[in-house]
Structure formats: structure tokens, C-alpha cells
Symmetry: C2
Subunit: 332 residues, 2 copies
């Protein structure tokens, strides 16, 4: 059935009853939780390209969250929103979510309910239904796997559409998400929708591993390069806060921390200019170039190769100390 | 992207390159692995009810398989086929699969490739594409989570459609799957398709937890009961083999072992008669009744309440010994 529960100590029937309680037939979910699969009616007329978009994403205890530090509601929220951020990145409306949970033996039924409530709240914020799932109990750490189905608001926006001369933009501010935003962020679904209404986005993705790693991915798919103006990268106050603690440059945090779940996108310079007066939380940070490499420009007109995957040497040319961080320090 | 890999010791780039190697644009998968989500073009014209069917299912080491005993190819195959069996149960054509894998640190790249090859082979047998996934490395046991998207061949067949007077049928033979069939089974996708072409199925599900547990689920959703003829339950030779080993009654194995992945369905008596000459691997095991309970009839005309969830007392009325099995022994 679309909600299977295999459990040991926890009262299986009680959790299952609770999970199924809200499973009612609706126009968009004619076959809710309780059958072998969930049946949804996708809003086909909306998408011009006829595409159905699919994503699966797992959240692992001590990799993506920490069960001993974070609340079940925070964990559930993050698991859903990580997946929905990919819907935002494709300019898609999330329409259905499936959740698979492998619960460690020691969690209680109330804790598990709060985990699902976190999931439900995040789904509701995105006007999206949780249509099915699978729950099991085991003697290992918590795993939450989320699959999302989306339908493009207009048409799907891929990573591969960036054109030489395009403006390169990011939403929001980057860095320091470890201070809490990696749990509390809201995926940029409505911003992506709004953007597709007023401009023509050429290429887009979400920043989950950090701009340093993610920009080259977009460029590689587009067969293009970029010049990024270091001074224009929107550095989050959390990056500065973290910087005061660890002595690491704030720009380093903005480039390398990851888990920003902001949008990285390109569009024509003319369209980019249109965004100026809209009040949308968007910054132009550079431009797309024909050369297939990326560089970062500093205020003093020095340029450096893009720190994709980490620099072996700092901008000064000195070897960097061993670091667990994905890229070495940069200077702004 | 639709294939993210977060890894430690294993060469991330090498696995990712291998995973993406076969990711080519096709008419049905216009946006393959490599973007934030996969984009598929679902065969909408085929389904009369306009439904898109969704399922997620997890396979856990030492719960659903044993990494130290089973080959990676067997494990991958089972993970996919468990999920595709639900497509069969809805009389749906599986169209797209997503796979999320949390790999334990100790597995090697060649082992991981064989795991994915097992997945691919199973998907190919069902003429279905693996369109995306997520892979991570962690210090816990292997988790494979599979999400499937299906489109009904004609219309989705639910659990809730059984009518009083219907014939109750199962495909194949039941019991003893632990001897190997729980890994090697093929989901009954083509049988379900064929059935929808020649008869009108009223209700259907797959038998994953065993007929003892699964029949009451179908009856509960249909608001009906059933009379099952014990002598007509098709007992697999594996159940008899297991019986010779453990002294348990073969019928007990057929009812309670689970992991048969056969179809349980109901249809009118007239349609059931049509199946007789077809050569399809289907047995009529009883009929649907108006009373909301199920009973099992034995050759000597004794009847017993259905052993759903296990009997507290054996047919003789004597208390059963403590057993880890989901239902106590039955007599045929």
C-alpha cells in the first residue's frame, strides 16, 4: 500500500492510523494513502512543455542533520524542503510528495508524529500534498528519503541554457547556513514562479553545495564560463558572524559553506535590468562568458580562477593549510 | 541535480561519471540525469482515468536483504522489483524510477556498480527508465529507496472495488519465498496488463506480507468479507520444501511467509470462468461475501476465522506455543 509501516517496539497500528487519518480523496489526489500506490491528477494544462519533473533526495542522521541536536519538526521540515528546493530550481510547482522513513528503534511515537508534522507543515507551505510513504523501524540511524513530483509553472528551466553575455544572478544571501538556516530555509518556489512571470530565465539551479561547487556545474551543463565580481556576492550576516568566530573570511563562507538553497540563474542583461525595480531578493553577481572557465574578480582588479572544488593554494600563492573545508580561503 | 553523490572514501567523480554515462535524452525522458530534477513525458493518452500513480519503498540491509549473504545484483533487483510489484498491483505501466542509495563506507566502487546494474536490469525487464537518484556514503548499513511513477494501462485498479459474489483469485503459488524467490521474483506487470485486457478486475493488490495479512487489507478497503477454500490455495513447492525442514504445515507457509509478490484480485464469477482457458497462472481460491469477516474452509467442512495477524489459538482450540511467526499453524 502507499503507506506501509514495518515496526517492532512502536505501536505500528497507532502510527499507521495516525498517518492515514488525513488521507482523504481530493480532486488532485483521487487515490490517497491506503492503496498500493497513490493516484494523483497532475495539472497538465499548466505546463507548456508537457513535462513531469521527478526528484529523490535522502536526509541522513549525522550527515544532513543531527537527531540528538535538532528537533523532529526541524528534521522533517528540512527533509521536505531540500527536495522542494529542486522544484524551485526547475521553476516547477511541487504537486506530490512521497516520504520514506527508516526510524531508529529508540524513537517514540510522539517523536515520530512530530517528525511527520514537520514534514506536513513544510509541504503545506508549498501547497503540496504528501500522498504516500513507507515507514520501517531498524537498529541504525534515521533516514528520511523524499521524492517529489513537480509540474513546470511555464516550462522547466534547465542548467544548460546559459548564454554568453547573460547576467548571472543569485537570490538571497549566502554563507553561514550552519548557524540555523540549513534547517529553517524556505525553498524559493514562489520567487522562481514570479521570475518566470516577468523575465525569461535561461538557466537555473539551486545552491545546495555552495556557489563554489554549484556554479561550475551550471557552466559545465551550459558549455560556458563566467566572470564573477567578488564584491557583488551577497554575503549573509551569518557568514560574517561565523567569520568572527573562526577567523575565516566571510566571502569564503558565502562561496563554500553550502546549504543556502538559494537560486543561481542567468538571463539576458535587458531582463536583468527589469528585475532592479521589482524588490525581488536577487543580486547580479557577474556575467556568462564564452570561455569555458570561470574567474572571480576582486576590487583591486586582480582576478583568480574560480575556486571550484577547493583551491590548493590561496590567492597569495602560499600553500593552504590542510582543511576539511571544500575550498580554501579567499580575500574580498 | 537529479543524481547527487556525496561520498567519502569512494571516488565520487568516478561513480557519478559512470551513473551519468547512460543518461541520454529520449522522447520519454527529455531531461535525464544531470539537472535539478529529471523531466519525463508521461504517456497520458493511455490512461482513461488521467491518474499518475506514485510509490516509494525502502529496502534495508538485514531487514529486506542481507548484504553479507546476497549479491549486489540480487539486492538491486529486489529493491526495484518490490516497488514495481505495486505498479502491477494497480494494473499500471511503470514509466520512471528514482533510486536513493545510502552506502556503507566499506563497499567498493565495483560492488556499487553491480548494485546499480541489478537495478538497471530489473528496470529494463519492465521497460522502465531509471531517471534520477541520490547516492551518499555513511557509516551505517545499506539503504536503497526506490520511487516509481506509473500510468494505468486502462484505469487504476484499487483495493476497494471487491463486490459480494466476486471470485477471489491469486496468481502464481505462495509460500517459501525465503528460499530465494523473495530476491528473484519478477513483478506481475504483464500479467496485470493481460488481465485488464480480457476481464474486468474489481479490486487488486500484491501479496507482500502474506495472504494472511494482505487479504484482510483488501477486504477492509472494500467493506466486504471472504470465504477461502484452503484446498485451493496454490502452495509453492518451496513451501513444501521448507515444511520438510521446519515441520511447519505447508499451508502455513503459503498463508504467512509473505514476499510472494503475487497478485490478489477479485472479479465477477463470469469473468473468472473466462480465465480458465487462458493458461494464465491464476487460481480461484474463494469468493467475496457480504459479511465483513473472512473465513477459511477446510476439506472436512470445518471453517475457521481467517488467521489475520496470527491466531492466538490453533484450530484445535489449544493455545499455540509462542512463535515469532505472524500466524500460528493451520491444517489443510
Amino acid at each position: 500500500m502507499s503507506y506501509a509501516v514495518t515496526m517492532g517496539l512502536m505501536k505500528e497500528s497507532e502510527l499507521l492510523a495516525w498517518l492515514c487519518k488525513n488521507a482523504v480523496k481530493t480532486a488532485t489526489v483521487p487515490v490517497p494513502i491506503g492503496d498500493d500506490m497513490a493516484g494523483v491528477s497532475l495539472p497538465k494544462q499548466m505546463s507548456r512543455d508537457g513535462l513531469t519533473l521527478l526528484k529523490i533526495d535522502q536526509c541522513l542522521d549525522q550527515v544532513h542533520f543531527n537527531l540528538s541536536q535538532h528537533t523532529p519538526s526541524q528534521i522533517g521540515r528540512k527533509a521536505i524542503n531540500r527536495c522542494l528546493s529542486d522544484c524551485a530550481a526547475m521553476a516547477a510547482r511541487p504537486t506530490a510528495i512521497l516520504i520514506s522513513v527508516a526510524l531508529p528503534m529508540h524513537v517514540t511515537l510522539p517523536w515520530t508524529k512530530r517528525l511527520y508534522q514537520g514534514c506536513r507543515l513544510a509541504a503545506r507551505e508549498a501547497a503540496c500534498s504528501i500522498v504516500g510513504g513507507d515507514t520501517a523501524l531498524w537498529d541504525q540511524r534515521l533516514v528520511i528519503t523524499v521524492a517529489a513530483v513537480g509540474v513546470p509553472w511555464r516550462h522547466a528551466i534547465l542548467r544548460s541554457g546559459a548564454k554568453a553575455g547573460d547576467a548571472l544572478c543569485v537570490s538571497g544571501q549566502l554563507g553561514g547556513s550552519i548557524l540555523g538556516r540549513h534547517l529553517s530555509f524556505s525553498p524559493r518556489i514562489q520567487l522562481a514562479r514570479r521570475l518566470t512571470e516577468i523575465v525569461r530565465i535561461h538557466a537555473m539551479m539551486d545552491i545546495s553545495d555552495g556557489l563554489a561547487i554549484d556554479l561550475p556545474r551550471l557552466l559545465s551543463m551550459s558549455g560556458a564560463g563566467a566572470e564573477v565580481d567578488a564584491a557583488r556576492i551577497p554575503v549573509h550576516p551569518d557568514a560574517r558572524r561565523l567569520s568572527r568566530r573562526d577567523g575565516q573570511n566571510p566571502l569564503h563562507h558565502a562561496l563554500c559553506d553550502g546549504e543556502d538553497y538559494e537560486l543561481l540563474f542567468t538571463l539576458s542583461q535587458r531582463d536583468a535590468a527589469k528585475l532592479a525595480g521589482t524588490g525581488l531578493p536577487v543580486s547580479i553577481i557577474g556575467k556568462i562568458t564564452r570561455q569555458r572557465n570561470a574567474i572571480i574578480l576582486f576590487n583591486d582588479r586582480r582576478s583568480q580562477p574560480w575556486p571550484a572544488g577547493g583551491w590548493d593554494h590561496g590567492p597569495s600563492g602560499r600553500p593552504m593549510p590542510q582543511s576539511r573545508s571544500i575550498c580554501a580561503e579567499t580575500r574580498d
